[in-house]
Symmetry: D2
Subunit: 250 residues, 4 copies
Amino acid sequence: RMACSRFEYVKSFEQDDSILPNVWIVIRVDGKKFHKFSKTHDFEKPNDENALNVMNAAATAVMQEFRDIVLAYGQSDEYSFVFRKETTAFKRRSAKLLTYVTSLFSSSYVMQWPRWKSVPLAYAPCFDGRVVLYPSDENLRDYLSWRQADVHVNNLYNTAFWKLVLGKGLSNQQAEERLRGTFSADKNELLFQEFGINYNTLPAMYRKGTILLRKRVVDRKGRQAIVPLHEDLISSQFWKNHTEILGKYV
Amino acid sequence: RMACSRFEYVKSFEQDDSILPNVWIVIRVDGKKFHKFSKTHDFEKPNDENALNVMNAAATAVMQEFRDIVLAYGQSDEYSFVFRKETTAFKRRSAKLLTYVTSLFSSSYVMQWPRWKSVPLAYAPCFDGRVVLYPSDENLRDYLSWRQADVHVNNLYNTAFWKLVLGKGLSNQQAEERLRGTFSADKNELLFQEFGINYNTLPAMYRKGTILLRKRVVDRKGRQAIVPLHEDLISSQFWKNHTEILGKYV
Amino acid sequence: RMACSRFEYVKSFEQDDSILPNVWIVIRVDGKKFHKFSKTHDFEKPNDENALNVMNAAATAVMQEFRDIVLAYGQSDEYSFVFRKETTAFKRRSAKLLTYVTSLFSSSYVMQWPRWKSVPLAYAPCFDGRVVLYPSDENLRDYLSWRQADVHVNNLYNTAFWKLVLGKGLSNQQAEERLRGTFSADKNELLFQEFGINYNTLPAMYRKGTILLRKRVVDRKGRQAIVPLHEDLISSQFWKNHTEILGKYV
Amino acid sequence: RMACSRFEYVKSFEQDDSILPNVWIVIRVDGKKFHKFSKTHDFEKPNDENALNVMNAAATAVMQEFRDIVLAYGQSDEYSFVFRKETTAFKRRSAKLLTYVTSLFSSSYVMQWPRWKSVPLAYAPCFDGRVVLYPSDENLRDYLSWRQADVHVNNLYNTAFWKLVLGKGLSNQQAEERLRGTFSADKNELLFQEFGINYNTLPAMYRKGTILLRKRVVDRKGRQAIVPLHEDLISSQFWKNHTEILGKYV
């Protein structure tokens, strides 16, 4: 039933893209023009809890489908998926892994949307995806720390910025000027002094992002479930608490 | 506001994947496990017009977003998008082009679904995507001819198969045995003799797939629209009728 | 007799590097630190005929070994080898093609040296090599034109420079200053007015570089020989005179 | 002085080939058709000490030039060069590293030849080269063990084979049949019983290949020299004795 035609030679133009064995495979998806997307859909500022829930639900769907993802980490409009070093899923073909993850994340995002958001989707959201390889456990930890350091810096800024705009009535430009050149300590102080806010008591999901891990569930069948955490993964304590991530596949 | 941390070095592990200049870039998306998907959602056999309409609508959304796609071709659960040779979209970065197309196709598929199908989506559909490069116009034409020859062979078989099953009450296995080793002429004859069907009069969309082209619309603004065609693109007549495809970008 | 050991898995870390079909494959080798090399071996300035002869002889050896090279072009301390689009030599594996050419060129250079130069080699010469792909005939022609335009610009400059230094006793710096900002016409004029030299009558090998082509030899067996030419390949006349290059393999 | 011409765009067809950071880079060169080459130059069988010396001398030249090679390993007509994980030589560009090593090895082989062999080179030798990446120290050790296990199996066979041919007057075919299906123990026994040879007392260079390491030389300046060893590198003792290899660059 295969179409054997004189055109079939064109198949030979497909090129092999197998990934080097024994490296961590990270696939990160990232919202395309989500600044506009969040405006169109009227996201709460600085954080829209339900928009983050849509991201987390879409990522959970991806992790349920691809068993060799040992950890996923999301913040803002991005999500990183970590395939274990030894995975042979799709023969480690780069484009296969990349597009399956990106596609399922995208379609799941649309599927999950109405469960969390009341406003209907105005248009189809779009995500880019990339594959990055990390040879050592240290490299992988540093990658995840990089993303978590990023959410810290951005969220502290955004929290202060929107407080100034929404709470004090500053214009966007005025708020920007007020924060220019300030350090983390300054912004913490500003939040505390002017708004009575202790930054460290704000919801951990906003400050730390979301880590998805597989954990055995205490039910009769002892199955695995995908569990969201909002912990600090930069410190080594996290890796001691969850030794299965860097260990062999459980 | 950029997170400059000691972890930032991990960014240097991202590798350049720019595509060679002056080649046709074809991105093909392909439904993952759509045999099961079509069963779950009770697709009509051998062709579900509305399921194909969802595919076409999703592909149209992709083509509207990425202006450098000069032609798209779809059949069954796959769609190919042809970027013009000279495109500099996303600096020709392979993963960017690949994932934007695959992501937008996937999310658009879910968005378009309820417009064409009454049964709700049981789960999120998933598509893989691949990039294939064709240096010459002849290679590109042969690629598209390959896909169209494929739909011909498959659809003729499927039409005969489902007539035997649905019309004559044969089991799947019996129908398979009946068709084993037959040539196109045999199947045409079978359809005509036993079911009074002239295969060539069946809907062209089933027999030829769908070609999406940009065409000037005759309205006041003379804008471009994306037009679906169900023509034979294997013959050279098609390319004479639509010279803009292989010509320079209009 | 094959060594089947538990270590053999490491072979799977080798990655496929097959070159896209239907593109021109250009391999260019380039002398490493040949400025120093030419000083050490006391090359004549601005051109050392015998040093160029060593290059040409080494390139001829490469072309004799790899039958799918249809043209080679050399100037200064570099040589480009053009494999025909359809070549399947070494399964089009990039590293194989690249290293065979670079290796044989390097060893042949040392072998050929004493036939042309009387001073012995002070140390082993080293060349880097790169693979560049050109999809269209026009791209290929433009590549070769680029290299030939390069030799023109450089050789005109060098000819004027060394005349000023060796003929007029200027220091290197003085000669550099004298030529700064001059156009081709200026340098032609300078050579003519001050040294009575008509640049266009200087040896074509210096001005145009060397093109190696396969040509039928008029002997009893009608065999092919590799023939050096020093023609202008930027003009289309060259390609009309040697239609076999862009045509199918003869 | 740069040739800025309308052809210069062709330079943009060169593609980036930087190697992933933090992986061991192994470059292996391998003689092309060295079976014929060894016949032409009348190599002693089963091992030609001076031919191996030429290989070792060429490899030493490569290691002297590229300071980031921490270890080289050679046997028969092949040599592997290990660049330290952290090397930034030539911006880790794959083709640069690959061709510099292969080129210098090839030209040095020709340069070194007359110092060890009295028969002149009949033609230019040619080597292919490949780049293989190993993420972990274990992978690297296994790669080197693989090559050393290879020389063991091949050399034991060849030693027995040539004893039968040269010592007992068997034809090549008879010797092959005599050895077919035998295990290492059988061949050891055959050598001992029929020829009074204790295989383990044969020169270590033949049995173990040659390892080149950098070692501090005990002279006034405490410089580094490249030292040949013929040790067993499969056992962990080797790596304990030479901790600098897997450690940071000294």
